[in-house]
Amino acid sequence: MDYALQQVLNALAFGAEYSLVALGLAVVFSIMGLVNFAHGEIIGVSAYSVFLAAALGLTSPIVAVLLAIAAAALAAIAFERVAFRPVRYAPTTTGLLTAFGVSIVVQNLFMLLISPKPQSVSILNGLNQMWFFGPFAVSSLQVMELIVSGLTILALVLFLNRSTLGLAIRAASRDFATVRLMGIRANRVIATAFAISGALAGIAAVFIMARRGSVSPDLGFSLVLKAFVACVIGGFGSLPGAAVGGMLLGFIEVGLLVALPQEYGGFKDALTYAIIVALLVYRPEGLLGQRVELGDKEI
């Protein structure tokens, strides 16, 4: 396949994955101001659930995909219930640090209860093949990442615009108290937001497992860091911003992969972050963000 086209597909696939994860972060942040550092561990719970199910004899990839998504959604709801609810009305920094703590706990629990070493998971390997279109060969995983992410984002947009609960989530991102005055249960809105965020993470977990063929305690951590950066560059808390930021990050990364000589390949992440930070010099509020004052958080 044409090299340039291949690289564009690469960038789109990377970008799609970052967008999914970044959207998950943005949904939660926009309605409750929580910077969810434990999002990577939601991906982790999802992946380890599949690992354990496979170890117990699960063989169907379809069931594994459903399990990954369900486990992630449940994990997200559980994190909220146990750790984030007590700090729901606390300042942003308190929530952020709580989430950071949850992230450390869960990562180390994987180490403690399963193993610090990567564990092989082959159940989803079938997703990662080469597809041939005449003379062209493309990675099935990349095509699926692109299509699934696109469909997921479409579904999310429909949900947020059509369903009452979706409307409530959008309304709550600006004015939670008044949403409650509509008789809509705050806990339900928040649980839904977490479930959506978790489901998005679960989809990402499927792709990660299919690509890597293994799970490890820090599976989601670095991905989520990148997704955070995508959120920041898109405008923190803005959903379109998260999607756009994720795509931009994908293109920057692939661009660097192409441009950097082999021996400097190790600097890819460093340069990606440096470029983003440099962009922030010119747009501190992000591409689609609004200027918010430091420490702002409406209850």
Partner: protein
């Protein structure tokens, strides 16, 4: 219908409401007047549960709802249109109205109510698919009240519906409030604009500095020596 006994609200060291008792009977329109900072909004927010009272009881239809969550008080038929309107600016007019009916399970009734308010306020109908943030202040107030009514409340609390609006629009809004009363809705209206609030009021409470200063019929307020000027400034 509503009975409030010895209600107090504190924000840290600030006592915003002190030992307030009031009641609203079925079908009544009761006005709660007082100057800025008197504690009127705090009272309303305590009634809806958005702020937790430090003491007192709130009884709705014989049921003590003091410990009931906001969401469930709305479901029990008590609704408020908050001060400053608080329409969802990023949602469309139609979406605002839909959220108002979020607790209802009768799609047909919801549609009828929606059509009724859209006919009543043609502006809302024209701007149905536009972001509510683009409406003018008066239109936003109409939307906010209509949104509250979409839940078919038994008791509607209105917090300063005239705030920041031109006199002509205020008159229109109170005409509508009078109409609601005529239709049998029970209302507690908080105002600084006493003249308008008293047009349809059956009874009046006046509060200042967190405490009740007057309780009686609107005519009594005029008799009361200088009270109107003292607390309401007009």
């Amino acid at each position: 219908m509503l009975k409030v006994e010895n209600l107090s609200v504190r924000y840290g060291a600030v006592a915003a409401v002190r030992d307030l008792s009031l009641s609203v009977g079925q079908g009544e329109l009761v006005a709660l007047l007082g100057p800025n900072g008197a504690g009127k909004s705090s009272t309303i927010n305590a009634l809806t549960g958005l702020v937790a009272p430090s003491a007192g009881r709130i009884v709705l239809d014989g049921q003590d709802i003091s410990r009931v969550r906001t969401e469930d008080r709305i479901r029990a038929g008590l609704t408020s249109t908050p001060e400053g309107r608080h329409i969802f600016a990023n949602l469309t007019v139609g979406e605002n109205l839909r959220l108002g009916a979020a607790t209802r399970r009768d799609p047909k009734g919801v549609r009828q109510d929606m059509e009724r308010f859209l006919a009543l306020f043609p502006v809302l109908s024209e701007r149905y698919a536009q972001a509510a943030g683009t409406l003018s202040g008066g239109e936003q107030q109409m939307l906010a009240i209509a949104r509250s009514l979409m839940s078919r409340p038994k008791l509607l609390l209105l917090d300063e519906p005239s705030l920041g609006l031109a006199p002509k629009i205020v008159v229109r809004i109170f005409d509508f409030i009078g109409q609601l009363k005529a239709e049998g809705l029970t209302l507690l209206v908080v105002e600084q604009n006493a003249r308008q609030a008293l047009r349809f009021a059956d009874r009046v409470y006046v509060m200042s500095s967190g405490a009740l200063r007057f309780d009686g019929p609107p005519s009594g307020l005029a008799d009361e020596h200088g009270l109107l000027n003292l607390y309401i400034g007009g």
